[in-house]
């Protein structure tokens, strides 16, 4: 029984107030406005759903995919009892003899289907019988097709492998039209005859818009329309960077989705109105629209709603004139009003009353620094010579600003000025001298003096103070972050080169966490722990210039991607706003607020920037442009490794995949959601965990580019929400980083590096006193041993074996006779045992080796038996499961092993076996053929007995493995992972 499934979403459909999504073989019903999942219903048998076709004759929906179809009915929630299911499957799936591409209801009981060999079949749904079929002469395989109901007939549009669309009337001898022009396979055809539009998408990356070359005289539902018109390609448009998968047509838009995870919004004339990236770089497989909202289903397992206003009503733009000819600085205040500064004046502009007030600035030098406090009510302006003005914005009644401080400082040449919180102004002058000032009535006094360590550009780019006013956190222009305390001139702690050569752009302190942003595309997290400050982790964003957060939760971050202003949602991993403005090298500011629009509080973001001496203001109403997740996306490609953990009542999944990310996800009653994602340089092949305490553990992950990462992860639950705190301990490249390997060579004169590009295929770890020993099986056939020392946080190669000749696929540490033993498996089907009880000093030679499978071993499981016996099960590329029974002859000496018995079978799977679990007297195997087999095993008089119990199928394609969640005697619960994941409950007592 499937508990939950996450895989490619290959069908989505709006229906009344609902959204239907085909996730694997299940039909998922969501409420459109509440976005709640109302029901999950088994639709087809082990077959992905590719389409929903609601009947125009009643509340029935035709569901099809592959060669199967069924019909579900939807009852009216008003009339049905609370708690009863809304969706109901009317009959078991019917299996046709060919793949289905399209379906259309002919009347309330008859449906016409188009197969992949261009055959139209008519089925009587009520009787469950095929009533007629018409085969076209063009019967080469179709990649796409569309049926259209005409008044009396059915029109067929067939997308052939020969890059053309053939249109014919069902049953007619000769086709009516050949739409030629695409250079690749046609992936989809959409048609809206009432608007004279046909849209095709293709392998050749183009979208083509077709239509009659002159105004048709007959309506689109008649045969005459299709006979009399001449259909031509009106627009051939390019917007996608990869193959274009699907399209849909709305009242005024054409929307195409592609493999490049882009949604392109076009008008009917083929003009690209908007392009949005979504689904975390995964392919978008399915799309539908109800004329106000778009729904997409993707390869990241997500289902997302997008308002169509994203294309038509993205932002409100205006240019305002405050009477300043060449403004130099713009900034928003606490009341969301605007301050504009030029060489001589500061103008305060009230957006509501449209009143502006001008304050003259009497400074000696024209180069002025401006900084606004955390509360945004205090504005400090200083020039290089030390003239300082501080203004206060009134927080109540009429909006205006007051000059509260007007003084001259004697600090030498001032290079930078920043607020730290709302009370302290941090100045940096020559030679790295930092002075912290606080106000005392109408004057200011110096409360602390620091000296920045020497660096090339010795001034500050950001500063902050913690809530206890103990720590000043200052960032210098060389990217270093220094922690100072009031009484000490030198930093108590320095983190060097945190944020690249432009220095941190902002520093935020929330409770005990320090969060910094920089122009190196990262957010860094630190924590104040007791008396120390520790660097935790880094988050890479999809854009270089990360400037600051717009909300208190540090979730919305803004910055620039080349010429475009970007607002990014960290939790949802998506861009919220993208608007071109010319780039970050200009004065600009952004503010987030709530505003009452049509009796509803709407979240808005206002962005101001200077361009060509004009003050541009762009306002975004987020509900018009923000997408909503019905199902959260996760890995965009295959999951290679996964570990499920139970923390109190919550299940937590740690997974690593082909998309180079390591993710920690939580599951509550309804939702699966990524809490954090970490990046590797290449695909992640393996991960192992080691528990430190109930909610804290180490994660070791490794994979391509010979990279190993170790993280210390803590999972906290606060007010019902899960929070993940992580510290990156090790990011190690066995072959060294690119820089270490190549030095400063440019790509032109780069000499050839003869070392192989090696991948780590699997690893396991062993606690050794206070530290760890890590065994890594590598693709260059070497087995490498590392030590990891808790104290130094360094990984060190301590041993290496070249015993194997081919790629090592599996490494696993077990304990037999109180001795730790390592098992390695290779692409040649070898199973090898190593005594590692004295790992540092051992000569590192295996003591036993045998060959089980004919080729690569992709799955390994073991069980310890009484009397020095060990059971080893392997599953491989050769479709077969092997079990060997081993015995250690000498209790005191782990120097040899004897194979007592072996068992093998290749009857249960027709493809590679990638997962094995031994639980109690059961064995579960999973395979790329999408079957999970339950076997029972026992050892009787040194003989292995293994018998088939049952088999079930999974919707997850390309199964890479299986992790055991629970075994309670009556059933085994496992998580199968690959292209998606599925939690399956397998009962052990078969009735």
């Amino acid at each position: 029984m499937s508990v939950f499934t996450r895989t490619d979403v290959t069908a989505v459909k709006f229906y009344k107030n609902y959204v239907l999504a085909g996730i694997g073989s299940t039909v998922n019903l969501f409420h459109k406005t509440s976005t709640k999942l109302l029901q999950r219903l088994s639709g087809l048998y082990g077959q992905k759903i590719y389409g929903f076709v609601p009947s125009q004759y009643g509340d029935k929906i035709f569901v099809f995919g592959g060669k199967q179809f069924t019909v579900v009915s939807l009852s009216d929630p008003e009339q049905s009892n609370e708690g009863t299911d809304l969706l109901c499957r009317l009959f078991e799936p019917v299996v046709c003899d060919d793949w289905l591409h399209s379906a259309v209801w002919i009347n309330k009981d008859v449906i016409a289907l188009l197969t992949a060999h261009n055959v139209v079949q008519k089925w009587d749904i009520k009787a469950g019988t095929l009533t007629s079929q018409h085969a076209s002469k063009d019967n080469s395989i179709l990649y796409s097709g569309l049926l259209l109901k005409l008044e009396e007939d059915v029109l067929v549009m067939a997308g052939t492998v020969f890059s053309e669309v053939i249109i014919h009337k069902c049953g007619a001898e000769r086709p009516l039209h050949h739409l030629k022009g695409h250079k690749g396979v046609i992936f989809s055809i959409s048609c809206e005859p009432s608007r004279n539009i046909i849209v095709t998408t293709s392998d050749d990356r183009s979208v083509r818009i077709w239509g009659p070359d002159n105004e048709p005289t007959h309506p689109g539902t008649t045969v005459e329309y299709w006979k009399d018109t001449n259909i031509v390609c009106k627009h051939e448009v390019y917007g996608h960077l990869a193959r274009v998968m699907r399209s849909c047509i709305t009242n005024d838009l054409i929307i195409s989705v592609g493999e490049d995870s882009a949604i392109c919004y076009w008008d009917y004339e083929g003009k690209l109105l908007k392009k949005a990236l979504t689904h975390q770089n995964g392919c978008i497989w399915s799309v539908d629209s109800d004329n106000t909202t778009l729904v997409t289903g993707g390869g990241d397992c997500g289902v997302i709603l997008h308002p169509l206003t994203i294309a038509t009503d993205y932002s409100y733009n205006e240019i305002i004139d405050v009477g300043v000819a060449s403004p130099k600085k713009v900034i928003f205040t606490a009341r969301k009003n605007l301050l504009v500064m030029d060489e001589n004046v500061l103008v305060y502009y009230d957006f509501i009353s449209k009143v502006k007030s001008t304050h003259k600035l009497n400074h000696d030098s024209t180069y002025k620094l401006l900084s606004i406090s955390s509360c945004k009510q205090l504005i400090a302006i200083a020039d290089m010579t030390g003239k300082l003005d501080v203004f206060l914005e009134k927080c109540k009644d009429d909006a205006f600003i007051l000059n509260i401080i007007d003084t001259k400082l004697q600090l030498g040449k001032i290079l930078s000025m920043h607020w730290a919180g709302n009370r302290h102004l941090v100045f940096c002058s020559d030679d790295g001298n930092v002075s912290v000032l606080a106000s005392n009535n109408a004057t200011v006094e110096i409360v602390a003096r620091f000296v920045l360590p020497f660096c090339k550009e010795r001034w500050l780019t950001a500063s902050a103070i913690d809530s206890g006013s103990k720590y000043f956190v200052l960032g210098d222009r060389c990217g270093n972050i220094h922690i100072f305390v009031k009484e000490q001139k030198d930093p108590v702690k320095s983190f060097s080169k945190v944020h690249g050569r432009y220095g941190p752009t902002s520093i935020n302190i929330v409770n005990n966490d320090i969060i910094t942003t920089g122009r190196d595309g990262t957010i860094m997290y630190f924590t104040i722990q007791g008396d120390g400050i520790k660097r935790l982790s880094a988050k890479d964003l999809a854009f270089e210039w990360v400037e600051k957060f717009l909300d208190k939760d540090q979730n919305l971050v803004c910055g620039f991607q080349e010429r475009v202003f970007v607002v990014y949602n960290i939790k949802d991993n998506c861009k919220v706003i993208e608007t071109p403005c010319g780039g970050g090298h200009r004065s600009w500011d952004a503010v987030r607020y709530f505003e009452k629009v049509n009796e509803k509080y709407e979240e808005c973001i206002k962005f101001v920037y200077l361009k060509d001496a004009a003050i541009n203001i762009t306002t975004f109403q987020l509900s018009k442009i923000t997408s909503t997740n019905l199902v959260h996306g996760s890995h965009a490609k295959e999951i290679n490794c996964l570990k499920a953990l139970k923390l109190n009542d919550d299940a937590v999944y740690i997974s690593g995949g082909e998309d180079t990310t390591l993710r920690i996800s939580s599951v509550d009653a309804v939702n699966f959601k990524d809490e954090v994602a970490f990046k590797h340089l290449s695909s992640i092949r393996t991960l192992k965990t080691h528990a430190i305490d109930d909610n804290r553990f180490l994660i070791m992950s490794a994979g391509g580019r010979a990279q190993i990462c170790i993280k210390d992860v803590q999972i906290l639950k606060e007010n019902g929400t899960i929070r993940v705190k992580s510290e990156e301990l090790v990011d190690h490249f066995i072959r060294g980083t690119d820089k270490e390997r190549k030095g400063n060579q440019t790509w032109r004169n780069c000499s050839i590096d003869f070392d192989p590009e090696m991948r780590i295929m699997d690893l396991d770890l062993l606690k050794y006193k206070d530290d760890f020993v890590i065994f890594a099986g590598c693709s260059d056939s070497h087995l490498r041993v590392f030590s990891y020392k808790n104290k130094s946080k360094k990984l060190e190669l301590i041993n290496e074996s070249k015993y194997h000749n081919t790629c090592i696929l599996k490494t696993k540490i077990i304990t037999i006779l109180n001795k730790t033993t390592l098992i390695t498996c290779t692409t040649r089907g070898d199973v090898t045992m190593w005594d590692i009880s004295d790992v540092i000093n051992c000569n590192f030679e295996p003591f036993f080796s045998t060959k089980t499978n004919k080729s690569g071993i992709n799955a390994l499981a073991t069980a310890n038996l009484p009397e020095n016996q060990l059971l080893v099960a392997t599953g491989g590329d050769d479709n077969s499961i092997h079990i060997i029974l081993l015995e250690i002859p000498d209790q005191d000496y782990l120097g040899s092993m004897i194979m007592l018995n072996s068992w093998q079978s290749s009857n249960f799977h027709s493809s590679q076996i990638t997962g094995l679990c031994l639980v109690g007297n059961y064995m579960l195997s999973s395979s790329i053929d999408q079957r999970v087999t339950l076997l029972s095993w026992s050892v009787k008089e040194r003989n292995i007995v293994c018998e088939f119990v049952s088999q079930t199928s999974t919707d997850v394609a390309d199964v890479q493995g299986m992790d055991l969640l629970e075994f309670n005697g009556d059933s085994i619960t496992v998580c199968v992972f690959g292209k998606g994941m599925e939690v399956i409950n397998v009962p052990t007592n078969q009735e």
Binding site: W99, D204, L277, E578, G856, D929
Partner: protein
């Protein structure tokens, strides 16, 4: 990515270039032959979906020795796409689902039938495994269909399959036409790949079977759902082929292989002739489509 990265990542890619094969797949056919001896006595062979032509290259090299007169060896390569010419290979640019193509093959063999038909064709994969597997199985069945027209009784058929969730349906279909059906995985095919090859020996069509191309050959379907899961699915014997000492396609090798003293980068033997993305590359050469 450096020029040599691909050479490092894939030993067979590199060896193919060094030994003059148009694609690394050449090694797969060579290794299948090592195990199954499929070239023995073959003088008339058909290579379906031949482009870029590496299997035809293998056939020309290996079949020559089977006849005293080299001209008695006939190799016909069929593909929808154009393929760069190969000496000793007769090319037919045609659709394997058309009777006319079958007739032209037989014409080339002067009315005789082929001893061996091979097919290494694969569709453009979409990334959805079930569709890819289905399209691949249809390609194989189209190849089987034309094979029933051109293959002699007792002949051998070798074709690429994807071992996906419904591959057992294909096995049961093939078993109707051949006495021995096995699935083989050459060492040069990656462990992680779902690709494998069916080697079908002793062509014996069902009694009364008349080759027919009007209707496509459809794959079998699960009769009832008892067969969809369970121990009674049709599963054919598997073997890994290729010498144990052969290079392993999953292993990373250094550029200097054992026994070598120098390495020289080689360009690919044959670059693609007309890929579907050609047009967009030309059209967008001067304008940038950016994801912003």
């Amino acid at each position: 990515m450096g020029k040599t990265s691909k050479d490092k990542r894939d030993i067979y890619y590199r060896l193919a270039k060094e030994e003059g094969w148009r694609a690394r797949s050449a090694f797969k056919l060579l290794q299948i032959n090592e195990e199954h001896n499929i070239f023995k006595g073959v003088t008339r062979a058909v290579d379906l979906c031949a482009a870029p032509g590496s299997w035809s290259q293998v056939l020309t090299k290996n079949l020559r020795q089977n006849a005293q007169n080299v001209d008695d060896v006939k190799i016909v390569a069929v593909d929808l796409q154009a393929m760069a010419a190969l000496p000793g290979v007769i090319q037919i640019q045609g659709d394997i689902t058309k009777v006319s193509t079958a007739n032209s093959i037989i014409q080339e063999f002067e009315g005789l039938k082929a001893d061996l038909v091979v097919c290494d064709g694969a569709p453009d994969v979409t990334g959805l495994h079930d569709i890819d597997e289905y399209v691949q199985s249809q390609l194989l069945l189209a190849a089987l269909n034309i094979t029933t027209h051109v293959l002699k009784y007792g002949g051998v058929f070798v074709a690429k399959i994807f071992r996906g969730k419904d591959v057992s349906l294909l096995y049961s279909q093939l078993k109707q036409f051949f006495e021995h059906v096995t699935v083989s995985k050459p060492r040069s095919s990656r462990n992680s790949s779902i690709e494998a090859f069916v080697v079908c020996k002793n062509y014996q069509p069902p009694e009364g079977y008349i080759p027919n191309m009007v209707n496509p050959l459809l794959d079998h379907k699960y009769c009832d759902f008892n067969q969809f899961t369970g121990p009674n699915r049709v599963i054919v014997p598997f073997n890994a082929c290729g010498d144990l000492s052969a290079y392993d396609s999953d292993t990373s090798y250094p550029l200097l292989l054992e026994g070598q003293t120098s390495y020289e980068y080689k360009e690919p033997v044959q670059s693609p002739i007309n890929p579907p993305y050609k047009e967009i590359l030309e059209k967008t050469r001067n304008i940038q489509i950016k994801n912003t």
